[in-house]
Subunit: 329 residues, 2 copies
Amino acid sequence: MKVTIYDIAEKAGVSIATVSKVINNKGRISVETRENVLAVMKELNYRPSIIATALTGKNTNTLGLLIPDLANPFFAELARSIEDSAKDLDYNVVICNTDYSSVKESEYIDLLIQKQVDGFILASGFEQMKPVETLIERNIPVVIVARELPEFAVMSVANDDYYGGYLAAQHLVEQGHQYIGILGRDLWSNRERIRGFNTYLEEQEIPLWPNFKYIEGVEHVEEAIKETRRLLSDAKRPTAIFACNDLLAAGAIRAARDLDFEIPEDLAIVGYDDTSIATIVQPTLTSVAQPIPEIGAACISLIVNKIQGIPVQNKNLKFNPTLMIRQST
Amino acid sequence: MKVTIYDIAEKAGVSIATVSKVINNKGRISVETRENVLAVMKELNYRPSIIATALTGKNTNTLGLLIPDLANPFFAELARSIEDSAKDLDYNVVICNTDYSSVKESEYIDLLIQKQVDGFILASGFEQMKPVETLIERNIPVVIVARELPEFAVMSVANDDYYGGYLAAQHLVEQGHQYIGILGRDLWSNRERIRGFNTYLEEQEIPLWPNFKYIEGVEHVEEAIKETRRLLSDAKRPTAIFACNDLLAAGAIRAARDLDFEIPEDLAIVGYDDTSIATIVQPTLTSVAQPIPEIGAACISLIVNKIQGIPVQNKNLKFNPTLMIRQST
DNA sequence: TTGAAAGCGTTACCAA
DNA sequence: TTGGTAACGCTTTCAA
């Protein structure tokens, strides 16, 4: 049923080798034969099997993307921008949700290796390094996005989390806040954000939040509500909150309003990622913006160059975040 | 570098045919040989190449998912639930954004056919039917999700849009509203939702909104803000708005508040999809809920059964939406 | 119970 | 400029 290179060869009265050459624009073929073959291909609506092609050692033009959770708007927007950029270069993306689970990370990597994807874009947490090492050992192109792995010589794309945290602190302090709560899960990128945040406070000789706790669990909004309640019920409550992503910030806003705190008068809030959430919440959310489309494009550009053997100068791209000031501060 | 069936065969001192049989649990193999081969496979960390397997006519265990826009939380959540369910059955999902573009729909379908995906889940608009017909003619499994194609004998999974619209109308009318604006793009599902909505109004002999216009453009929130402004500046302004998705509803909320309308006192708003947005906005949003996890699971179940040749009784699944009442009404 | 060999749709080398 | 053919890694049929 399916039309193969043999059908084309037969109908065009040439060998399959010749057909293969015109498909790939290789070798020397007379104009006539080429046009003839092309015509037959069009007539029969021929499409080479990528499967068969891949078996001979060529690429599958497929990339694996490991992401913690598509339902988190930041990752959805990142996945979207990666997919868009991939399409421009004729690549497809297999998206896998890991839920921050090391087991799933490892399973998916195994599976996608089996499927012979040309490269991996890792946006998952990877607190566990073994699967990534496997990739590197096997010399499979990898780009890490939204975090860094200084221990490895892998390509990476990220925003400068440290600087983003620094920006957030600076903004809040300039607004007169001294006592600032922090909301975030225990992830590499958040640790960086908090490190940048605290650095600014230290520079200003402002004491750090005394009983900071990382948030557990994946239900961002719910967790943030719970934790914000705790912070606000403190004897000496914070006048501002820095949330390590917009979802957490949305939870903080909700909790604050439930307790009849006015934002930003009684409590200022800064989020991170500047996703669509930031303009949907009320009041709109001041948030540290990552240039998501640029990040996505950079991932694809890095990995495709690597796949095609094109040397790149800078293998570790870092974009500057910017502070989007809105009503919440 | 890569370990193949030949390596296993050699090291185990058997033929590749034997190895293949133990891999697939076929034919009759002595316990000893089987265990020996298994041991060697484990030792060499052997993984069959899915590419090579596929070339022999077997499945790729990969599904194509065409979605209009991952950045829309409804589709992100749907994609996530589909991916989750797929993983449970050892399938991977290639996610493609179409931006509601017929050209992209068609390009992606072509490409994924070339890549020999085992089936397609179509959540994109498909106002243009040709690509879908191609799939059907080629006898490639397809399930349509979030809309129906009564013209075709394809499998489908959806919520009952007509009933969802009806529910929304009923709720608003019961709250005393008579003059209700509608926000929605011109899509099949929205036409159904609006049809259901209007049916209820007609049953109650309430006149329909006189100058209804479908919304254009993809920037949901922005478009909704613009259109809501228009509605609210009308001489006889609506007291309620039914938005065909939560993003539009969020835009309506923003526009209303910008104009100092109190919600729900001055303007009630009902959304659709009950995505995470509904509990993030302020006030929280009354929304017609689709059972997204069930819908995702149903898609995968239908298509995998079809792929594996397992007959299914009901090829067109319809889930009942439910109304989640919150602060906006 | 095991294995030889053909076949899946391509590519690429080497001859012609 | 063209074509024959081995090779890619696996499955499957048929013999042994």
